[in-house]
């Protein structure tokens, strides 16, 4: 019998499985996991020294301090690097300005600052408050006209204009916030679309606001008359940058405080839930609307002081569309989206003046493509790409027919012991090999002699079975000495008794051993 198994045709060289020419696992081993790379800064301990905004407990940078599990050194990670990019970007803009020769670019830079500030406040209304208002340019225009009128006719100095403008913004903002208490969504958007046109038609036809001169000019300005033109441009650029930084702080302030958090808890279509938890989201929305309107009025007053007046083009439909393009290209609901979108649109619009209508067509085209293909503008591409990649990954996984015993990516990332990932693959290959060894001769050999010396195939199978983990491992138990044996499965836990597998009673020890072997063989073939 021993000889018969030893020389049987079923014998396979066990080395073949691992040789390069052998039948390897065909399932590709893809790198899995969501590990992201961060630069590790040195630190003194896991307790970090954090930079805070003065008089608050708010951090400037979100840091994480940990001890490196391998080297045991204290490390510091900047989790959110956006503030660093903001500072670097703004510093670069401020540093380049004195070296810019072209006066077109400098003037465009100043316009960029003003429009970025307007768009940030508008983003507060559209993104944070969730009121789709198209009347924000009208608030700026109304404040600019009002303060320019007061400056021309009552000699208001330039430094008072933004504050007077804020007052106008408050009044105008309150007026147009009135319908927002009752209307929602598109009804409000459509209503506010008309308000711009109303203002434009009124201003163009009104003698009071310079219908004859095409605007209201002659307001007091902050540019000193004695300075050269280039210096005046530089001053204007820096003043507008300051305005934009102010708007950025307002954005951060509204979004980071209680007001912003309340509104984040009540996004569109989840208002009912927020209301049920005691959030008065309507009041919060109106408050943000009015705060932004005051800020927009401030910007309007600044506009009048910067351009020495106001013109009806502030209210024109094309300007509203361009400003919408700015916030849409960057991505709704993000400060960086508003600023970068403004940068792109203003650069295209003011620098390539000789292209004529072509540049507006180009801007419209960019806006269109952004809306058609991107879910949330330029700054939403990262998330959108990840979602797309995950979709493709899972599609790919589901099309694969052969599984290599590997873990799913989600499982692999959550497993602490990464050796398990490779162990499963190894185990799968080994089981495939062992399945090929099982035949009637091997089973017959085991039936005759469960213990003692065996052929190579049987010995390999037994070694594999014996090495299995304790959980649900088969064992035999003696119910009556030398008369009754039964098969049990171990629990694998200390203090938890093994459970009986079936009712069968075996009369000898060898018979029971063989029954366990048969069960294991069946489990192996089924796996």
């Amino acid at each position: 019998m021993f000889d018969k198994v030893w020389k049987s045709a079923a014998w396979k060289n066990p080395q073949d499985v691992w040789s390069s020419a052998g039948a390897r696992s065909k399932a590709a081993l893809h790198p899995v996991g969501r590990l992201r790379w961060y630069y590790k800064w040195p630190a003194h301990s896991s307790n970090l020294w954090r930079l805070r905004y003065p008089f608050t407990r708010r951090n400037v940078l979100r840091l994480r301090g940990v001890y490196n599990p391998k080297s045991l050194r204290a490390e510091k990670t900047i989790v959110d690097r956006r503030p660093v990019y903001w500072v670097l970007g703004l510093a670069a803009l401020a540093a380049i300005a004195p070296f810019v020769e072209s006066s077109t670019l400098l003037a465009a830079g100043a316009i960029f600052g003003i429009y970025a500030a307007i768009n940030l406040c508008w983003m507060l209304i559209v993104g944070t408050a969730g009121i789709f208002s198209l009347a924000s340019p009208a608030v700026v225009g109304a404040a600019a006209y009002g303060s320019a009128y007061l400056s021309i006719h009552y000699g208001l100095p330039w430094w008072a204009l933004p504050f007077v403008g804020s007052g106008f913004g408050l009044i105008f903002g309150t007026l147009i916030a009135l319908p927002a208490t009752r209307l929602d969504g598109f009804y409000y958007a459509l209503l506010t679309l008309g308000i711009n046109e109303l203002c434009r038609v009124y201003v163009v036809q009104s003698k009071l606001f310079g219908s004859a001169t095409g605007g209201l000019y002659g307001a007091d300005s902050y540019f000193p008359e004695s300075w050269s033109e280039n210096h005046q441009l530089l001053l204007g650029f820096y003043a507008c940058m300051l305005l934009m930084i102010g708007a950025l702080f307002l954005y951060r302030f509204v979004n980071g405080t209680r007001l912003g958090r309340i509104l984040r808890a009540a996004p569109e279509k989840k208002e009912a839930f927020a209301e049920a938890t005691g959030i008065n989201y309507r009041a919060a929305r109106i408050r943000v609307f009015i705060i932004s309107s005051i800020a927009l009025g401030f910007i309007g007053g600044f506009y009048a002081a910067h351009f020495r007046g106001a013109s009806p083009s502030l209210f024109s439909f094309d300007v509203v569309l361009l400003m919408l393009a700015m916030i849409v290209i960057g991505g709704l609901g993000r400060a960086e989206g508003a600023v970068v979108g403004t940068l792109i649109v203003i650069f295209l619009e003011k620098y390539f003046l000789e292209w004529g209508p072509m540049r507006l067509i180009l801007i419209g085209f960019i806006m269109m493509m952004t809306v058609l293909f991107l879910r949330n503008g330029l700054f939403g591409t990262k998330l959108q790409f990840r979602a797309w990649r995950n979709k493709k990954k899972s599609e790919f996984r589901s099309t694969r027919s052969e599984k290599g015993g590997e873990m799913l990516p989600e499982e692999a990332t959550e497993t602490a012991d990464k050796d398990q990932i490779y162990f499963r693959r190894f185990d799968k290959m080994q089981r495939d090999y062992l399945k090929g060894l099982i035949d009637d001769d091997v089973i017959e050999e085991h039936r005759r002699r469960p213990l003692g010396q065996h052929s190579e195939q049987l010995e390999r199978l037994l070694v594999y079975f014996r090495r299995a983990g304790q959980v649900d491992k088969y064992a035999i138990t003696m119910t009556k000495p030398f008369k009754e044996y039964r098969i049990v499965a171990l629990s694998g836990q200390r203090g938890v008794a093994p459970r009986l597998v079936d009712d069968k009673i075996y009369t000898s020890e060898n018979e029971a051993y063989h029954a366990v072997f048969l069960r294991r063989v069946q489990d192996l073939l089924e796996s």
């Binding site: 009135l178 598109f186 209503l191 679309l193 046109e197 004529g356 072509m358 269109m368 058609l372």
Partner: protein
């Protein structure tokens, strides 16, 4: 000021506004998109009619009139289909469609008006008088050709459209979409195909409105803006998605406009109009005939 004159001009304005508003209203309720390129459709239709009028130099004025109206309606329908293909078809099943549709149509109208400006230049064009040059007097009322024509043709087209919506198979599909888009899709009404019908229909309405309004105003790249804003306000005031509401609102706002321009002056028209709309919307947030819970869930 004569009451009959005011009523007559209110009626004319109401018929044109109704034409504009019903287009916007039907678009919103059936395909779920606020069509901000409606003004562009309007301007394109105006240029289409003008182009045909330029071609017809030595033709009988009646034939010219018919051709110009037909050209306006045809170009309008074509522009509507174009808007549908560029903005509705690509994104109608993507997330956040209502906002994206609004922005896409705005972008399209920015592009389109600039392309018109590029091709035709900023100079305004005039259409030939489609309805001839006559006037009829009924006692104190003087009915000029353009007013009578506008009144008759807009009422005619509105009646034809509404009958078509009520009685034809396609109209049934569109009404099913207006009631419940998901249900319509389940019983086999193609969303995209119906979208194209709807946009062609509303484009044709805009085209006719363009020809009618350009009897008194001019054709220019930006000429569609004011009609669109008025149409949107009327549709909003009447309740988006409701045809009867749009007609009532058109009547109210037309009366308001003729009263304001008669007693206060032309520059206050928009102000009184918006004050009126805001008051109406504060009382009824979904418009005159809109139902709060029947509002279309985008």
């Amino acid at each position: 000021m004569d009451w009959s004159y005011i009523l007559l001009s209110a009626l004319t304005l109401a018929s044109i506004y109704g034409l504009l508003a019903i287009g916007i209203s039907i678009t919103w309720s059936s395909v779920g998109m606020v069509n901000m390129a409606y003004g562009l459709t309007f301007a394109v239709a105006g240029y289409g009619a003008w182009g045909v009028a330029e071609l017809m130099v030595d033709v009988d004025p009646i034939i010219t009139g018919v051709a110009v109206v037909a050209a306006g309606i045809g170009t309008g329908a074509l522009a509507g289909v174009l808007v549908c293909l560029m903005t509705f078809i690509p994104i109608h099943d993507k997330p956040n469609f209502p906002v994206r549709g609004l922005i896409a149509t705005l972008a399209l109208s920015l592009m389109g008006t600039q392309i018109l400006l590029w091709i035709f230049g900023p100079r305004v064009k005039t259409l030939p008088p489609v309805f001839g040059e006559w006037q009829a007097e009924f006692g104190a009322i003087v009915l000029t050709a353009d007013k009578a024509g506008a009144l008759v043709s807009s009422i005619l087209l509105l009646a034809v459209t509404l009958t078509w919506l009520k009685s034809s198979r396609r109209g049934l599909e569109i009404r099913a979409m207006m009631m419940n888009p998901h249900g319509a899709a389940i019983v086999g009404i193609g969303v995209r195909r119906t979208g194209i019908y709807v946009m062609a229909l509303t484009g044709a309405l805009a085209g006719l409105a363009a020809v009618l309004l350009c009897q008194t105003y001019f054709v220019s790249p930006f000429s569609g803006l004011t009609p669109m804003i008025k149409g949107v306000s009327v549709a909003l005031c009447g309740g988006l998605g409701s045809v009867s509401g749009a007609l009532i609102a058109a009547a109210i706002l037309g009366l308001n406009e003729s009263l304001t321009s008669a007693y206060l002056g032309g520059q206050y028209v928009l102000i009184t109009q918006f004050a009126l709309i805001i008051i109406i919307l504060l009382i009824r947030p979904r418009g005159i005939a809109g139902m709060l819970d029947k509002a279309r869930e985008a």
